[in-house]
Symmetry: C2
Subunit: 324 residues, 2 copies
Amino acid sequence: MQEFELINRYFKGRGITRRDVNLGIGDDCALVSIPENSQLAITTDTMVAGVHFFEDMSPRALGHRAIAVNLSDLAAMGAEPAWVSVALTLPKAEVEWLEEFTAGMHEIAEYFNVQIIGGDTTQGPLTVTVCAKGTVPTGKALTRGGAKPGDWIYVTGPLGDAGLAIEARKQHLDIAPEWLKKLTTKLEYPTPRVAAGQVLRGYASSAIDISDGLLADLQHILDMSLVSATIHADKIPTSEAFRQSIEGEAKWPYVLGYGDDYELLYTVPENHKAMLDNRLSQYGIEAVCIGQIRGGEGKVEVLNGEDKLDVAQVGFEHFIQGDA
Amino acid sequence: MQEFELINRYFKGRGITRRDVNLGIGDDCALVSIPENSQLAITTDTMVAGVHFFEDMSPRALGHRAIAVNLSDLAAMGAEPAWVSVALTLPKAEVEWLEEFTAGMHEIAEYFNVQIIGGDTTQGPLTVTVCAKGTVPTGKALTRGGAKPGDWIYVTGPLGDAGLAIEARKQHLDIAPEWLKKLTTKLEYPTPRVAAGQVLRGYASSAIDISDGLLADLQHILDMSLVSATIHADKIPTSEAFRQSIEGEAKWPYVLGYGDDYELLYTVPENHKAMLDNRLSQYGIEAVCIGQIRGGEGKVEVLNGEDKLDVAQVGFEHFIQGDA
C-alpha cells in the first residue's frame, strides 16, 4: 500500500485551485459550494485497459482522455465543468508512468478550469473511472428529449478520425504516417466541446455527445424525443487526414458508426438556427447541418446525395462501439 | 456490448426516487438540486476483486459494501447522503449475479434514502467504483483537523470483527461457525454510521471513519490537527463474537490495525462530552471513550491498563490494510 501513497504526490497540491472548493484532497470527502440558481450535473465514465484503449497507449493520453470523455458529457448538457474525482486502479505504481498520466490529467483539467478534488487509488488491472461534476443554470440544461419535427440536426466537427485510427491499428491499414498521426491524436487527445455546449443553451432543442457513434447517439435523441430523422451522410464533415486516408464506401462505418471523436450532436429549431450558427462561429466552432428531424417513431433515414444508404449494407453493424 | 445494456434494467426505474433529482439515469448527465446554505460533500471508493474483497463474496454483499464504504466517508464528514454514481466493471453480464448485486445496492441505498443517479457499466476485471454525494450545512462539516489537547477520543462501536473474519478465512483460524458467521456479516454488510455522523456536527472537534485501522486513521487526525494521543486499548469495545473467537494478545492487531468495520473515530471537547454522549445514546449509538488527545507532534501512545503496548511487537505491522 505504501507505493500507492506515492500517488497523493501526483494529485495533492497539483493542478488548479478553484475558489468554490472548500476542502480538496486529504479528508474523508471533498467539500464544494454550488452557485445559487444552479443545478449540479454529474457523469461517470470508466476506461478499462484493452477494452476502451490499447494497453500501450501513452499514460499522458490516457490521463487526458479519461477527463475529456467525462467533460464531453457535461458539455452535452450545457454544463460548466467544475470538479472531478479520479478512481485509478493500476497494477503497480511506477513513478514515470504516474508522472505522465497525471500530467495529462492536470493539463486538460487546467485548460477547462477543473479541479481534481479527490478519488481513490487501488491496486489491480489498469482501469480509470472519472466522476465529473459541473453546474448549469437551473432549468437550462440540454437533454436528449427536446427535438421536434422540423428541427435541424448539427454536429460540431469532423467525424471518423478516431475510429479510423483504431481500425488502422487493428487491421494494419495502409495510411501515410503524417495522416495516421493526426488521426491518432484525435483518438488520444479528444477535445470536449465545452464552450459549444454552453453556447447551445437557450438555442438547441436537444444535445448529446457522440461517444457511441453518430447513428447510435442520434437514436438516443429520437427515442427520448419521440421523433424520426433524415441524415445527409454526404454532408457530414470529415478531416483532411480522414479524406486522404480512406475512400468511397469504406468511410461510412467510421463516419456513421464510430464515436470516439467526442463531437456534439444537437438539434435546433428553425427560428434559432441563424443566431446559433452565428454565436458558435464567434467561438470558432464550425458546426455543420447534416439533416433534419421528422415526425415518426424513432426511425433514421440516411441519404447519400439522392440515394438511400443502407447502413447494414455498408458494414455498420460490425463497427458498433464497445470494443474500441 | 448489448449484454451490458441489460444492466440498465437493474438500475433504471429501480430503487428510490428523490425529489431533488431533476434528471436521473438515461441522459449524458444526471441533474440534481442542492439545498440552500449547504455544501456538497463528495467521496469515491473503488473495490477490486481479489484485492478489496474475496472473489467469491456474494454479489449482494458486494453491492451493499460498495455503497456502505462510501456512505461511511460521508458520515465521517457529518454529511447527509443523497446520490451515488456506480461504475461497474465486470467480466460478463450474468442475470443472476446482477439481480443480487443490484438488490444489495438498492437495499442499502433505500435504507439511507440515497438515489443511484447514474454510472457506467463496462466489460473487464470485476471492479466497483462508487462516487457518493451528500450535503452538509455550510461550515458544519466535520474534518480531521480540529482535535485539541484534552479532547476525548471515541469510537462509535466494536472494532476487529471484520478483520478477524478476513484472517479467519486466509489463515483457516479455528472459530466456531456461529461466531464466524457474525464476524463475516460485519465484514460483508457494514453499517455506515450515517446518523452518528450527523449527530456529531456541532459537538465533535474532528472525525474520520475507520477504514484503514484505528491507529492508521487516528494518525490522520493527529497529522491534520497537529496533536498527539493516548489510547487505552483495553477500553476499545469488541463484540461478543470477537471475544469468543480470539484471546489474549492475538486480538490487538485486529482491534488496532484493521479497519473494515467502518465505525467512526471522533474527538470531542470536555464541554460537549456529556451532551454528545446523551444525544448519541438517544439514537441507540453506544459510543465508547478510548483515550484522549495530548499536545505534541503526531505521536500515539497505546496503553493496556497500566502497561504500554508496543504496537510493532504485537504484530501490527503485518496487518496494515491494503490487502484485505
